[in-house]
């Protein structure tokens, strides 16, 4: 980057060059266009992983199918977190489920977006005094859009989706970067709920390095705790035993 700047300054210093170049500005006029184009394309093809934890999932079939037809916005369901852009959490998240939601979220490739549907993800909703459900989803995951309601109608779901599309198009939907930049904060909240030995298979700090999102709050007391308790992952022992086949073989 600096090399190119120097070159352009040298070029502009050349006599006879009429093109005025301000120092510090990108000279390639197409570079920004491509960014905008990518953002636009990204906002128009979203694969959605719907983690249907609670009753809010009932509103998704009409939102996805022919009545409201989410696919005309370019949003369609995806079966695996590895290929999904949006994680849709619909309804209350019990402490047990929250672990799975975090595992799912960390498996998604960046850029990734989280939508919390229903009042339960905002503040516990009607389960606010339940010992079993987590209250604020954005304590544990960075949430891009909350769609409040008990339950929100498909119109509201689509309005929320459109809002997310708009923010992606404008390059403002950067909550996923927050997870890397303030990983210590999120991990601290997770450890408060799950205990100090909590760990996920994903190396979030390495991912943060990969995406260039290491910030001053990426590492801290909680990640130090994680490193203390972290056990190396072992491959699952895959065994297939079909008694009938074994019987036939012998």
């Amino acid at each position: 980057m600096t090399d190119r700047k120097q070159i352009t300054q040298q070029q502009s210093a050349r006599p006879g060059d009429s093109l005025p170049v301000k120092p510090g500005k990108r000279t390639n006029p197409l570079a920004h266009v491509f960014d905008e184009l990518i953002d636009f394309a990204r906002s128009r093809s979203l694969f959605m992983l719907h983690y249907c934890t609670g009753c809010g999932a009932v509103e998704l079939p009409p939102a996805m199918t022919s009545r409201f037809d989410m696919e005309r916005l370019g949003i369609q369901p995806m079966v695996t977190p590895r290929q999904a852009d949006i994680l849709l959490v619909t309804g209350y998240v019990s402490v047990k489920t929250l672990k799975r939601v975090i595992l799912t979220y960390e498996q998604m490739p960046a850029p990734k977006y989280v939508i919390g549907i229903c009042s339960c993800t905002v503040n516990g909703g009607m389960y606010w005094q339940s010992y079993a459900t987590a209250k604020k989803l954005n304590d544990y995951l960075p949430v891009d859009v909350y769609i409040a309601g008990c339950m929100p109608r498909p119109e509201a779901v689509i309005a929320g989706m459109r809002h997310l599309m708009e923010t992606i198009k404008n390059g403002e939907a950067n909550a996923w970067q927050d997870y890397y930049r303030r990983y210590d904060h999120y991990l601290g909240n997770q450890q408060r709920l799950f205990g100090q030995t909590w760990q996920t298979p994903t190396d979030v700090i390495a991912e943060a390095k990969y995406y260039g999102q290491i910030g001053p709050e990426t590492r801290g007391a909680h990640t130090a705790m994680l490193e203390k308790h972290q056990k190396p992952l072992e491959a699952l022992d895959l065994q297939l035993s079909i008694s009938e086949l074994e019987h036939r073989r012998s």
Partner: protein, 190 residues
């Protein structure tokens, strides 16, 4: 069904012969039996072996905090008589140990494990008393009446800010939250 009716009157008579149990017939197909804790397995043995009540629908537990007792209710169903018998028994809250009826009804293992998890009642002789649904739980049994769920929640979770800055603008325009959550929550009403 007439046959079933005769059988139920027969059952009533048989049960009234036994000392120390109190029977209350709720309807032709529902019978409540109150029995002492040490006689309950014998009663269930009788109901299952002789009176065709082969199906244990559920074991429910009630925490009577003021009496210092747990009430255990065994719901047994007979397919032949088409009727339900609820056998109620009370055990002291402390130490909260009772005997399993796993040897009489096999599905009892499932219900007893659940009650052990939710109320802390230990069933001696039950095959598995390990954690069941609340595998992540390390607090006191949450269905006990003396467990303060609200205090636990306030201890473990943070709340969303109900006065964010963007709301002030809406309030200035005459909008805002009609009933604040603090006013709406029954437990906080004085």
């Amino acid at each position: 069904m007439t046959e079933g009716k005769e059988l139920t009157t027969w059952l009533d008579k048989v049960l009234t012969e036994i000392e120390g149990i109190e029977i209350r017939r709720k309807s032709s197909r529902r019978l409540r039996v109150d029995v002492a804790a040490d006689a309950l397995p014998a009663l269930l043995e009788l109901l299952r072996g002789r009176a065709s009540y082969v199906h244990l629908s559920a074991i429910s537990c009630v925490d009577w905090l003021d009496d210092g007792e747990f009430e255990l209710v065994y719901h047994v169903w007979s397919y032949e008589m088409q009727s339900l018998v609820s056998a109620h028994t009370r055990i002291p809250r402390e130490p909260g140990i009772y005997i399993s009826v796993y040897d009489i009804y096999t599905p009892a293992a499932f219900f007893e494990r659940d009650i052990h998890e939710m109320y802390g009642v230990f069933f001696e002789g039950s095959p598995d008393m390990s954690k069941f649904i609340l595998t992540e739980w390390d607090g006191p049994p949450p269905m006990r009446k003396d467990f303060d769920s609200e205090a636990w929640v306030n201890d473990h979770f943070d709340w969303q800010n109900y006065n964010p800055e963007w709301l002030q603008e809406i309030i200035a325009q005459g909008g805002g939250i009609a009933v604040r959550p603090d006013e709406q929550r029954f437990s906080r009403k004085q």
